[in-house]
């Protein structure tokens, strides 16, 4: 058994073990153990990667290849580079934190954890696969459980939100599938056989006309998951209705699949298409950044605010990707990681506040810092990290994006960059409004004076997320260098 | 052979009959009327069999045989249809098409 396939096997084994559990206590224990093993493996993978990278200069390391469906040349091809390693680690962290945050889930705990782990296994599989078709399969595996998770364990208009989210993502998948097949049927442009293997396709010069046609399809297919304006509307409703751990996992990891897919497939395989279309999508992304931030200003539901903030922050990822610049790409990956941790943390905190006060309406909250000092303090820290304060991961990512985007001497792109930079001010406005309203200020109601303090599992979950955020923010060099090295072969295509 | 009448004229008549049958089949709202329209259609085609046999292949009788079979089948069909109609009438007290749409969707 190779080191990467284990990432899919472990969740599956955990699911199998979960099937035989009874009740909440056993279910969460099994999930926790499974997730901890997973996290351990992810950390181990980081070290193994560094060791391997020192001697192996291929684009991907730990590659394995098994034929899966011979007729169409579909393989189970796996391998990782620095980017996937980082994202795998992120996923493992968030899944474990999600398990901790769901420690007290009341309804159908077993089924909940199973769905959660199915989702996780899809994500893991997506990050390790190097075969378009396999990737697509894992992508679907990751997206489908969302419907159940929101529809069953959600709150508010959950059926509606679940349906909306699933339909929009499925619609995007359909578009994506066309793009993927388009790539597949052009993969013999140099006379070879049709193939789904990403590394092989990257060697092929797909005709420009085909690239022009299939790049937007592939891009949009993934970008909907990355909340590209104007296809972001599933995100606020979906997040608002989803249970906490699902919001965490979805915003934290699943939405990263979009950016990662664009990077790995759209950009890497269709570089000419990317260059041809970059002007268009960069505008959309820039609009998304500013638009999401402004949208967040006016919301009154905590989760909606965070969802719009995610639109804005993930807009930055797409923006950075479309600038076709190495530094900005590094920033995009960093932003993916940073946003994943931050937004998961935010959702976790919102879940805790909601679990105690049973409201997410900011007009009904106030002065929480006094009653819940730990949660309040972490909330403020998270808010500050979210608005890009130095010392936290967000700053590092944003600076990479801004500096990278500014390296392009094209005046149009510069102006867009300045526009995008201005989002840091708008972000400050809504974050501070939020913090000022719910954490500071006078108490709004008196009946919440005896709210329970944060429990050990909540604290564990929070610290699990907070420590990497600070780690990334204080010492970004090793991570940034690891990513830069891995980006190098990808950027060559578009330069 | 009918003296002075070409095959074209006969075929014209049967075509007209056929389409009258089709028209009736689609426009009538009563199960029995529909059954009658079907009879018209059947008859029009039976004539064609017969006439083509007579005009083009007078040595053979296949057309005739076919018409006999068709008449036999039509008789059986009518008998069944009538029994179904009667049964239906017992159940819903109507033989109008609009009352028998329960199988839609």
């Amino acid at each position: 058994m190779d080191i990467l396939t284990l990432f899919v096997i472990i969740p599956v084994l955990t699911i199998v073990a979960l099937v035989f559990t009874k009740g909440l206590k056993q279910a969460r224990l099994v999930s926790m153990v499974g997730s901890i093993i997973q996290l351990g493996m992810a950390i181990n993978l980081v070290f193994a990667y560094f060791k391997e990278r020192a001697i192996n200069k291929e684009i991907m390391v730990f590659t394995k290849d098994y034929v899966w469906f011979e007729q169409f040349n579909i393989h189970y091809t796996i391998g990782v580079d620095g980017i996937s390693v980082a994202l795998l680690l992120l996923t493992a962290i968030i899944v474990l934190a999600g398990v901790f945050i769901s420690w007290k889930i009341a309804d159908l705990p077993k089924e909940f954890f199973i769905s959660l782990l199915v989702l996780a296994s899809g994500v893991y599989g997506f990050f390790i696969s190097l075969d378009l078709f396999t990737m697509f399969v894992f992508y679907e595996i990751a997206v489908i459980p969302m419907y159940l998770l929101i529809g069953i364990w959600g709150s508010g208009p959950k059926e509606y939100s679940a349906m909306k989210l699933t339909l929009m993502l499925m619609g995007a998948s359909a578009v994506l599938l066309v793009g993927v097949l388009g790539i597949y049927f052009n993969s013999n442009a140099d006379g070879g056989a049709l193939t789904f293997n990403i590394l092989e396709i990257a060697q092929v010069n797909i005709p420009f006309e085909a690239q022009k046609l299939f790049f937007p399809l592939t891009f949009v297919g993934f970008a909907v998951l990355g909340a590209l304006f104007p296809f972001h509307t599933w995100s606020p409703d979906g997040h608002a209705s989803a249970p906490t751990a699902v919001s965490m996992l979805h915003a934290g990891v699943l939405m990263k699949l979009g950016g990662y897919g664009i990077f790995r497939i759209a950009m890497f395989l269709l570089p000419a298409g990317a260059m041809h279309w970059s002007w268009f999508f960069i505008i959309l992304a820039a609009i998304g950044v500013v638009y999401g931030a402004f949208g967040a200003i006016r919301q009154t539901d905590l989760k909606y605010i965070n969802a719009y903030a995610s639109v804005s922050h993930l807009g930055l990822v797409l923006f950075a990707l479309m600038t076709l610049n190495k530094i900005a790409w590094n920033g995009a990956i960093l932003q993916s990681l940073s946003h994943g941790l931050l937004t998961a943390l935010f959702f976790a905190l919102i879940g805790m506040i909601y679990g105690r006060t049973h409201t997410r309406d900011i007009s009904k909250l106030g002065g929480m810092m006094k009653i819940l000092p730990f949660i309040g303090a972490i909330y403020v820290i998270t808010g500050l990290a979210y608005l890009g304060l130095p010392g936290f991961s967000g700053f590092v990512a944003e600076m990479n994006i801004f500096v990278g985007a500014f390296q392009n001497p094209d005046m149009f792109q510069r102006i867009l960059t300045v526009l995008v930079v201005s989002s840091i001010v708008i972000t400050a406005v809504y974050i501070l409004r939020l913090v000022g309203k719910i954490m500071m200020g006078p108490l709004v109601t008196n009946d919440c004076e005896n709210l329970p303090k944060a429990t050990w599992y909540e604290k564990t979950g929070i610290l699990l997320l907070l420590i990497p955020i600070i780690g990334m923010g204080v010492a970004p060099l090793w991570l940034s260098d690891m990513l830069l090295e891995s980006i190098q072969p990808f950027i060559q295509g578009v330069l | 052979m009918i003296a002075g009448i070409s095959i074209y004229e006969i075929l014209t008549v049967t075509s007209i009959l056929f389409f009258i049958g089709v028209y009736g089949f689609i426009t009538r709202k009563n199960l029995i009327s529909i059954l009658m329209s079907i009879e018209l259609i059947l008859n029009a085609s039976v004539i064609n069999f017969v006439v083509i046999n007579k005009y083009l292949y007078p040595d053979m009788l296949q057309g005739v045989y076919f018409s006999i079979f068709i008449i036999a089948v039509a008789a059986a069909e009518t008998a069944l249809a009538v029994s179904i109609i009667i049964n239906l009438y017992r159940q819903i007290a109507s033989v109008e098409v609009k009352d028998t749409e329960i199988m839609k969707y």
């Binding site: 638009y291 006016r298 303090a377 500014f406 406005v429 500071m440 830069l484 | -």
Partner: protein
């Protein structure tokens, strides 16, 4: 000389912050106060040692002060462009170390008395530690990006400290306002950094500031709308500095920031953080001076002069003593900017630069003193307003005397420290630009007037009947006052012209007697007027105010800048931009998506009707289909 130990100066407060922050609940308040003071004392001692080492032992090589840099890579962008973290030792950074550590230490000591019994005592000291760390990091920054990083951290500690009384809505609003306004200014700073980073290929101060370096020599290589891009970058960076240093029109946050505890106002909003903008311009002074013949520097001068005048006028009418001091701070910061703006580079030409730094130093001391004195008063009478005060000299002798010393110093009375630094500024302005000189002299008079209005209003004036007789503050509060008063008296005799000059070579400064006399006369006139108006309780001031009428009202309302700010934020951003976007998102974008969904349902219902279950309908479809197919195949599909 190895200056690596300087890194400890910021790290010790950081350690204190982490210690107090993480074990917030577990540490006894008394202990946390000691931890804070001990940490800052160590930093201060190290700062003095550094200053001694630098200025008197190893700093000067062949008459020129050297720049020492110790750094390590923090993040790589490209092969050449990277963010470094490190320390940069040169005259101004060492001077700032002294200022920050002294004021911060004094405020730490003072706060032990002032904040006694407060719920968030430990939290307060933690935040002070965070601020000190950030400020030290800022002054020691080796490159633009590092200064930006600490710049933001300073901003956030300011946010946290202004919002220290977080249950008070006005404090929360003020904290938000301060952060957002400065963040808005930082936008300019950041874009400026991006431009500089792209066109010069470095963020490093040493490379950028080298008068023979490519960054300065090649400034004209690219231009944008009539100006060199580098000039644009410098203007944008100055916007960042103006935001922090409360220059017009980004000053609106500073008066509100007085919602924070008074020691915080003294530390952050009088002495250290607000001078960061001045420090930033001074840090990049060679660039400002050489690029495009000082175009950006002229902007600095005029903005500084205008802010100085503007704030001084407003200060006259305010009744909240902390706000008077806040506007005074803004006015004095304008003075420093003005001084930088009129400075030259070589030798005696650099007097403005020197004077600015000199004034930064002396101002930090006496303004901190004023704030701490005001804090002592507020502590005693539990009010911020002049109307609740009067005749306090009898109750609070030490505060009275130290406050008087500070007021005299800021008014520029010989031989207190303010006299010397202000005189140098006026000399520089006189040599450079007569208009700015005129403004400077006028502002000096106004300063003396409003300061003594304040002084007489608090300690003399009417004999207010107090419910609880005010009493002198404890020793922990008066001790810092005395130290600062001492520095305010003798600070003017430090030979700044030897130590801090643009070309780092030093020159002989002479007292320009005629200008000094003019300034002194103006200052004394201001004091005299204040004496006449406010020494005894009388209605002259009111009569005067009535005579000015509308102008007085405008001034009293700070020229309605807060209203404009509220209009912009509430009406324009919140209602005119955010609300339509929220609406647009709900109705148009989401509406489109929803519409697609709904239309699908509607259409499917329509299509469902075709499947009617009527055989006749099917038959019709069949017949019509056959007919059409037949038509197509027979007539249209004829090859």
């Amino acid at each position: 000389m190895d200056f690596t130990y300087v890194i400890l100066i910021p790290l010790i407060p950081l350690a204190a912050f982490l210690l107090l922050g993480i074990f917030n609940q577990k540490i006894k308040p008394a202990v946390s106060g000691y931890i804070g003071v001990a940490g800052l004392s160590t930093s201060a001692a190290l700062s003095f040692y550094t200053a001694y080492q630098y200025f008197f032992i190893v700093g000067k090589v062949e008459g020129v002060y050297q720049t020492f840099v110790e750094k390590t890579t923090w993040m790589n962008f490209t092969d050449t462009l990277a963010i470094d973290m490190g320390i940069l030792i040169d005259p101004i950074s060492v001077m700032m170390l002294i200022v920050v550590s002294v004021i911060s230490l004094m405020v730490h000591i003072y706060s032990r008395g002032y904040m006694k019994g407060d719920d968030g005592y430990t939290r307060f000291f933690a935040f002070l530690g965070l601020f000190s760390f950030s400020m030290f990091g800022l002054v020691l920054a080796t490159n633009l990006f590092q200064i930006y990083i600490f710049w933001e951290l300073v901003g956030v500690s300011s946010f946290l400290l202004i919002g220290y009384y977080y249950t008070k809505p006005s404090a929360v609003a003020a904290a938000k306002k301060a952060f957002i306004v400065t963040r808005f200014a930082d936008l300019g700073f950041l874009v400026g950094i991006l431009i500089i980073g792209y066109y010069t290929g470095t963020f490093d101060f040493k490379t950028l500031n080298n008068p023979e370096g490519s960054a300065i020599l090649n400034w004209a290589s690219t231009s944008f709308i009539g100006l060199s891009v580098i000039t644009w970058a410098l203007i944008l960076i100055f916007i960042g500095g103006a935001g922090k240093s409360a220059m017009f029109p980004l000053h609106i946050w500073l008066p509100d920031a007085m919602e924070g505890p008074t020691p915080v106002s003294a530390l952050i909003h009088a002495a250290t953080m607000v001078v960061a903008g001045v420090y930033l311009v001074a840090r990049l002074f060679p660039m400002y001076y050489f690029v495009e013949d000082g175009f950006a520097l002229n902007i600095v001068a005029y903005v500084g002069a205008f802010s100085s005048l503007f704030a001084a006028i407003i200060a006259i009418t305010q009744t909240d003593i902390k706000r008077v001091l806040a506007f005074s701070t803004m006015s004095q910061l304008g003075y420093m900017m003005l001084a930088l703006g009129v400075s030259g580079y070589d030798g005696h030409e650099g007097v403005g630069y020197m004077a600015s730094m000199f004034h930064l130093f002396t101002h930090a001391m006496f303004k901190a003193l004023l704030f701490l004195g005001a804090g002592s008063v507020i502590h005693a009478v539990h009010s911020n307003y002049l109307k609740d005060m009067g005749g306090l000299r009898k109750y609070m002798p030490i505060t009275n005397i130290t406050f008087l010393i500070a007021a005299l110093a800021i008014s520029g009375v010989f031989p207190l420290s303010g006299f010397w630094s202000k005189d140098e500024i006026l000399v520089a302005a006189f040599e450079h630009n007569k208009l700015i000189y005129g403004v400077g002299v006028f502002v000096a008079g106004l300063t003396a007037f409003y300061m003594f209005r304040l002084y007489f209003g608090i300690f003399w004036g009417k004999d207010t009947q107090y419910k609880h007789a005010p009493h002198e503050s404890p020793i922990s509060m008066t001790f810092p006052l005395m130290i600062l008063a001492f520095i305010s008296i003798v600070g003017g005799f430090i030979p700044f012209s030897e130590l801090i000059t643009p070309d780092k070579a030093g020159f002989e400064a002479h007292l320009n007697i005629p200008l000094a006399i003019v300034a002194t006369i103006v200052g004394l006139t201001g004091i005299g007027l204040a004496y006449v108006f406010y020494k005894k309780e009388n209605n002259m001031a009111d009569r005067f105010a009535n005579a000015f009428g509308v102008f007085y009202k405008w001034t009293f309302n700070k020229f309605y800048f807060d209203e404009i700010y509220i209009f912009v934020t509430k009406n324009i951003i919140f209602n005119r931009i955010a609300a339509p976007i929220a609406w647009f998102d709900k109705k148009v974008v989401d509406g489109t998506m929803e519409g697609i969904g709904n239309k699908t349902v509607v259409i499917s219902k329509k299509i469902k009707g075709i499947q009617s279950g009527k055989v006749q309908d099917y038959a019709f479809g069949f017949i019509a289909g056959v007919v059409i197919l037949a038509l197509v195949f027979i007539y249209l599909w004829t090859n």
